[in-house]
Symmetry: C2
Subunit: 229 residues, 2 copies
DNA sequence: ATTTGTGAATTACTTCACAGCA
DNA sequence: TGCTGTGAAGTAATTCACAAAT
């Protein structure tokens, strides 16, 4: 049982397990093995068992896991209980897409407040949520008790927005700007830089013609494995 | 010098270094230390030196790196030379946002073809690029010599799209669907599941009231570090 | 008979610490 | 002197392999 430090990588896999388990629950499946879960989630079965073991023993030996029970445990572990509200700052292309995307899918987490500094956007709605002026950020976040936020503003504004969010009591931030953000103690910041991810992809392609790269020629490419969704 | 295996983590940092170096180049900076680079990129200086060392020795001892020279080397290593074209499949909220996002920023990589299976969208343009029917995918990708693609379609369609892309000669795919994709040898697939990332964030927030989580209470939160952009 | 849960072994990645060079 | 480049050391994460449980 888990008295060791929990790898961040394990935490980030839990929501994937959760999604698969909820699909299985809906399909009325009443038992699933770590091997089956592994096949559906795209990780190894040992990895799944190890990740779960950090938090306790949720399965039955010789049998497997109950999707309903395990998904409920995972939600509890992740803190996805009740109505988890998220603030979105920046209603540009990406922010708008994220808000609409969120509407369709997941019920676990809900974008419940959207802010933008552009007064032309204020008052309009995305996915049924009204865009508010950034000046109202702290007031609204405190009133709603929001603890999570998404930053989808240009790089130059990102740190200022992060500071406002942290001042308003936000404890976890998903940052889509390419800026390196300074966090304060008690706040977790995860950054995803989409254009940087895209550029890194190029490394795994073969040069179109001539001109080999430097040492990078032992670059390896998946041998029919499964990608980590 | 680099005869060891190159960590995937290092590859994914290179584009970040590249962005910082290009900013410095534009500002006319003619020398930068790994420490300065580290501060701007959000990693440690040793990490940067180690990452670069996998590919060669690009600096001058006692001095530092020339931003123009080093950014040129990094582009070469990553394969970001000439006109790197990317196909985008799926012109929904996220796909559209990515296409517009790409237009504004990076010149290194360019979305040069967009596909959607919805005939209402076909013929329209995003960021100056016409949306083509998915039936034309292989023909267009081969004609343009495209090696990289972005999948932004619903989960159920994702594997079929990936198969078509691989059949058309695409070697690296950035997958935004929550589906676990099977890749074939010679193709690299990187997946980003935005909703899953968002759910993982919840783990790092404190429970709003009552009901502690399971073993997850030794969850740690950054102590004023810097996030990895 | 089958599948979990887990220490041990392995592999991957990062940080240290300092020799080497301008 | 100052900063790079790099083996060695350390830490983190994954995989192995098998005992425990039903």
């Amino acid at each position: 049982m888990g008295k060791e430090r929990i790898p961040e990588a394990a935490i980030r896999r839990l929501p994937v397990y959760l999604r698969v388990l909820e699909e299985l629950s809906e399909d009325g499946v009443d038992v699933v093995s770590s091997a089956e879960l592994a096949a559906r989630a795209g990780f190894s079965s040992e990895q799944i068992r190890k990740d779960l073991a950090y938090f306790g023993a949720f399965g039955t030996r010789g049998v497997g896991y109950d999707p309903v029970v395990l998904s409920s445990k995972l939600k509890r572990i992740l803190g996805l209980t009740g109505d988890v509200k998220v603030a979105l700052v920046g209603a540009g292309n990406l922010g708008t897409a994220l808000a609409r995307h969120n509407l369709n899918r997941h019920k676990e987490v809900r974008i419940s407040a959207i802010f933008d500094r552009d007064w032309d956007k204020v008052g309009k709605s995305i996915a049924g949520v009204e865009i508010l002026p950034i000046e109202d950020l702290e007031k609204v976040i405190r009133a709603q008790g929001i603890k999570m936020a998404i930053i989808a503003v240009p790089a130059v504004e990102a740190q200022a927005v992060a500071d406002q969010l942290m001042a308003a009591g936000v404890e976890a931030i998903l940052n889509f700007s390419p800026a390196k953000l300074q966090s304060r103690p008690g706040t977790y910041i995860q950054s995803i830089d989409l254009m940087t991810e895209l550029q890194a992809l190029a490394y795994y392609t073969t040069p179109n013609s001539g001109s080999a790269r430097l040492a990078g020629d032992e670059r390896e490419v998946s041998e029919g494995e499964v990608s980590t969704v």
